[in-house]
């Protein structure tokens, strides 16, 4: 047994223990904290699996946005804890346990019987990489081979945002989302929120920028930037714009619209929607990514912020 395998086994046991505890613990708040740690462990697993693009996404999403979202929700809900303490009966629990065990057993069987050598599209992706102009094959998949999925993903995020906003009270429609803040402009948090974001923005843009050729890209960069924005707002140094704000709406739709415009231009220039003319693939991919950045930053941060909760000061 090598050291690497020992580390992997330890990591797997740890992540299983964390997941089991997160499921089993009585207190919801504790469960959420467990889930945040679980996200960190998952990042380590992605690194162990040599999938750095995914590890970056998980580090930014799991550690940053999802954690903040769930912790915020758990904090607001904690006073209701007592009302939902009752657990389902033994019968339901047994049934659930049997069902879960069956699924796990079936999946384990499938995992052990995956074909060897494994089928892979890596050679195909590598062969065509040259015509996309980018060096990171994951970016090539996201923005060339399967760009439709990426466009739709941006639209998914927007539709989820519409859904979140639709949960506003009518009297707050057109108003601003709000975070619970420490409105103390002198406090440590405000200090932190002044120092970190400038550097964070550089890091976010850097992660975005290297994405064309190295692990990284717009989703990871956008998540970091969104986290920085949320930090500034959470420290009370800024406010969310009202959801009726014109510039906000234009930036939110600009990414997908530019993406589609470049996609449709491909009919004329390269003979198919989402095709890139020879030699122009990389600049066009960059243009799409740059247009998607503000959309993603705003949408991801606003998803954490939730529905509009107050009217803007007149």
């Amino acid at each position: 047994m090598t050291l690497a395998l020992a580390v992997d086994i330890g990591l797997a046991l740890l992540i299983l223990a964390m997941a089991a505890w997160t499921i089993a613990v009585r207190d919801t708040f504790a469960s959420v904290i467990g889930f945040v740690t679980y996200g960190l462990l998952l990042t380590l697993v992605w690194v162990r699996l040599a999938l750095p693009d995914v590890a970056l996404t998980e580090a930014a999403m799991g550690g940053g946005l999802t954690g903040a979202l769930l912790i915020g929700a758990a904090a607001r809900l904690r006073r209701t804890e007592a009302t939902v303490r009752e657990r389902p009966g033994v019968f339901t629990r047994t049934l659930a346990a049997v069902l879960s065990a069956t699924v796990t057993a079936a999946l384990s069987f499938c995992v052990l019987n995956l074909p060897d050598p494994a089928p892979t599209l890596a050679p195909g992706a590598a062969a065509k990489l040259g015509s996309t102009g980018v060096g990171n094959p994951v970016t090539a998949v996201l923005l060339a081979y399967r760009s439709m999925d990426t466009l739709l993903e941006a639209i998914v995020v927007l539709i989820a945002l519409f859904g979140v906003w639709s949960l506003a009270h009518d009297r707050f429609w057109g108003g601003c989302p709000q975070l619970r803040t420490h409105a103390d402009s002198e406090g440590i948090l405000a200090y932190f929120a002044r120092i970190l974001p400038p550097i964070g923005i550089i890091v976010g843009v850097y992660i975005f920028w290297i994405g064309a050729d190295f692990p990284g890209g717009k989703f990871q960069g956008a998540t970091i930037l969104a986290a920085m924005w949320l930090l500034v707002i959470g420290a009370g140094l800024a406010h969310f714009p009202p959801v009726s704000q014109a510039w906000l709406r234009i930036l939110l739709v600009a990414g997908p619209l530019v993406f589609m415009a470049i996609g449709f231009a491909g009919i004329v220039t390269a003979g198919a929607v989402f095709a890139y003319p020879d030699g122009f693939a990389k600049p066009l991919i960059l243009a799409i990514e740059i247009a998607l950045m503000p959309t993603l930053v705003l949408a991801l941060a606003l998803l954490v912020a939730g529905a509009p909760q107050r009217m803007p000061p007149q």
Partner: protein, 114 residues
């Protein structure tokens, strides 16, 4: 036994845990966490498949990696929507449970007044 297979089995177990949590926990936020654990298990399984597909000088099959990134972002959006619904429910009544006060057959069916 190697790394990818190990994490594949780990993924299978995570999906089972998450499923159990989703079914058994009455508190909706816990159900959302359960869903996220199932989701991460599925992603992890996909990750092991990506890792197994290492070829052509790449550490892993790039197609599953790209799809994983998409999947993670979609799962985050789903969580945000679910949390928003949950918080709205909390604002309305302060009681957060999926069990209606009335039984489903007698639940109110009034459309909103136009």
């Amino acid at each position: 036994m190697n790394g990818p297979t190990l994490f594949g089995l780990c993924a299978a177990a995570l999906i089972g845990f998450g499923l159990y949590g989703l079914i058994v926990n009455p508190q909706p936020l816990r159900k959302i966490i359960g869903f996220n654990i199932i989701g991460s298990g599925v992603f992890l399984l996909f990750g092991t498949i990506a890792r197994r597909g290492a070829a052509a000088g790449m550490g892993g099959d790039p197609v599953p990696q790209a799809l994983l990134i998409t999947g993670i972002v979609v799962a985050f959006s789903a969580t945000a929507l679910a949390v928003a619904l949950l918080l709205r429910l909390f604002d309305e009544g302060g009681v957060v449970t999926l069990v209606s006060e009335a039984s489903p057959t007698e639940a109110k069916a009034d459309p909103p007044d136009a």
